[in-house]
Assembly symmetry: C2
Homo-oligomer: 400 residues x 2
């Protein structure tokens, strides 16, 4: 009898944890495990605001997949997913195809534009290693260029972050923290620089404790960030953004961080989806497809307490991966029953640059250095789950 083939699409938080769990929970005779990923590296999406602002090397946010997973047990295909042919139980790749008995979709997310025109053309919207490096180099290039042009316009040194959610706030936290150093290095008077965070919703960091939100906004305003809350963007142009009010803010740098939708592969492959996310069964399978698990940002689960979806976070992706691996083991070995996924939210910390952060851990609100410490511990905990103490020591962040 042929052993079943498990194919995991995507080496993000969900895919990597699923893969590492499966190599430990299943023997080589029980199943073959294939991991498909566009790059030969895994990267930490939740760290990308740092290399994007230039406060951490992009290299620190990624690691070769082979340095983390047991490659004796994994067939690794470096390729791009084009389409999932669920009726044929195969996945079309850019350079080939792969058949599966069980599929794990962990393809992550893409920028959500909410239909605003011009985002992909004129804003930086890719929260990837490639995208983060581009933002960083773009920022440094406008600084370097400024003193070389005769006609200096204010918009050259105006930076707009669209979206005051987690990513937008963490990014502007890093950028505003680095700004004095950037100005000093490139000989730019600090008052020439303008930083805006523009948010359509009535509050920054929606869902966060209002006291923490106020702390974050005060801190960022003291670093020169101007918030425009309740202020939808109508269009992004080559010159800047046009607000719903019709006003224009000119800026050479626009970073788009208004949130994400699931991978476009989901809709392309004919799944029922809301903004690229499949509303999964409690056991994380796609409705009507007992051979397909969906985890991470492509999976939609409703938080019954507030009747709204859980946010797409690394924490939830990793917890889904645990359940997904357990359920795959049950299916492959025919033992045990399928588990139900139930998120255990341990808290959330948003970094604000330097030694500053805000967050809730358990029922405790944290500000400043203790919050920043917790943030780094959370980052390190993921490394520990993924690769044990060795990886944590090698790639972790000093919490002090």
């Amino acid at each position: 009898m042929k052993k079943p083939s498990i194919v995991i699409l995507g080496a993000g938080y969900g895919g990597m944890i699923t893969a590492t769990r499966l190599t430990k929970q299943l023997t080589a005779n029980e199943a073959s495990i294939t991991l498909v990923n566009k790059h030969d590296y895994h990267y930490q999406t939740t760290w990308l605001h740092e290399p994007a602002a230039g406060t951490l090397s992009a290299e620190r946010t990624r690691m070769p997949i082979k340095s983390v997973l047991n490659m004796n047990r994994i067939n690794f295909l470096q390729d791009e997913v084009v389409e999932i042919k669920k009726d044929d139980k195969k996945v079309i790749l850019k350079n080939g195809e792969v058949e599966y008995d069980y599929l794990v979709i962990g393809l992550g997310s893409e920028a959500e534009t909410f239909g605003v025109p011009g985002v992909f053309e004129h804003a930086f919207s890719k929260w990837t290693v490639n995208g983060a490096r581009e933002v960083k180099e773009h920022i440094e290039y406008v600084f370097a260029k400024y003193n070389n042009v005769e006609e200096k316009t204010d918009d050259m040194l105006t930076f707009i972050v669209a979206g005051a959610g987690f990513t937008g706030i963490e990014f502007i936290g890093e950028l505003s923290e680095r700004m004095p150093e950037l100005c000093s290095y490139y000989d730019i008077p600090r008052d020439k620089v303008k930083m805006y965070v523009i948010e359509a919703a009535p509050s920054a960091l929606p869902g966060f404790d209002p006291e923490l939100v106020e702390y974050a906004m005060n801190l960022l305003e003291n670093r020169g960030v101007e918030f425009k809350i309740n202020c939808p963007i109508k269009e992004v142009t080559a010159d800047g953004v046009i607000l719903a009010s019709g006003d224009e803010i000119k800026a050479a740098t626009i970073v788009w961080a208004t949130g994400v939708r699931g991978s476009s592969i989901i809709e392309k492959s004919g799944f029922d989806a809301m903004r690229g996310r499949i509303k999964v069964e409690p056991n994380l399978r796609a409705p009507g497809h007992d051979d397909i698990f969906v985890i991470g940002d492509c999976a939609l689960i409703i938080n019954e307490d507030i009747n709204r979806p859980y946010p797409p976070t690394a924490q939830i992706a990793m917890q889904m991966a645990d359940v997904c691996a357990d359920n795959l083991k049950s299916l492959v070995t025919g033992q045990g029953s399928l588990k139900t996924f139930k998120p255990a939210l341990k808290g959330t910390v948003a970094s604000l640059g330097g030694k500053e952060a805000i967050g809730v851990v358990g029922s405790r609100k944290l500000y400043g250095a203790p919050a920043s410490f917790m943030k780094k511990m959370i980052d390190n905990r993921y490394l520990f789950l993924l690769g044990g103490p060795g990886l944590t020591l090698k790639r972790g962040k000093s919490p002090l």
Copy 2:
């Protein structure tokens, strides 16, 4: 009796050495010394190929003027020279003017385009701290951008250096040495990168020993540099360069290094000049102007041995500064006679990136590590002349 006022224009090699010599050779009662410079820092023009290619921080190439000169003896004006009114014995500055009894012109050089259209619009031609930072950030930005665009064109990763003289060779030396690291960091296949050095003259590094030139070209070719010698550029466009043959080479990055002319202030102020350089008297004064000394790249002196001008180098600028300071002392104190300037060429070393260099020191030809060692010793010697052992220890380059 009012003490005479000495005004030095420009804080380059010539101006800085003149200023530091004068503070030591004249007492405060003998003369007032004013230094005018656009920036509040001095920088080392001969090091700029390194920050331009990104192998050294731009900060390492500059130093605050006040950290080097005895500011109790110097009136420092941070301002830009607009015009020298030699008949009125005053200098018009952007934000004021300054009168002089004796003037030292050390305004340095500007890019020579030889009339090729498009250089200032489409090529990087400023060998200044600002200019070097812009080149570096531009290069890193195209690397960062490459993996984010759908339509990848070869010209994005094509780098053209116009001119195979000293600056062009030293720059491509650094860039080619750094290229493997750049490709690795930005995930670019090395074979996507093209580097050209295009030279109108029949040889690279004209005037250098042919054996050394061959060593340099072989070394650079082994790093992937393609030389086009005897190949004039007809025009620089937004897309690349058009050669005299009509052929076009497309490139996103064009660095202009075909040589320099003297400051445009020279011609604007009505001096007789050849390409912005004043053919000075043997005592370094401008013909017909006994109160004006001209040193460095703005001064033209013929090497009688070959009936051609001495090249505009830091070495000659510094030697001129010594003679200029001595002659000013003679004029101010009324003692001694004016000295004649005679260059004492100690040798020339061109760095080729990493531990590679070529050069002639005395009558010895040097290659590789010994040449690279000498290059760093030459750089350090300048710091020693300017600011003694303290500055050398603080800002020097480790020769090992």
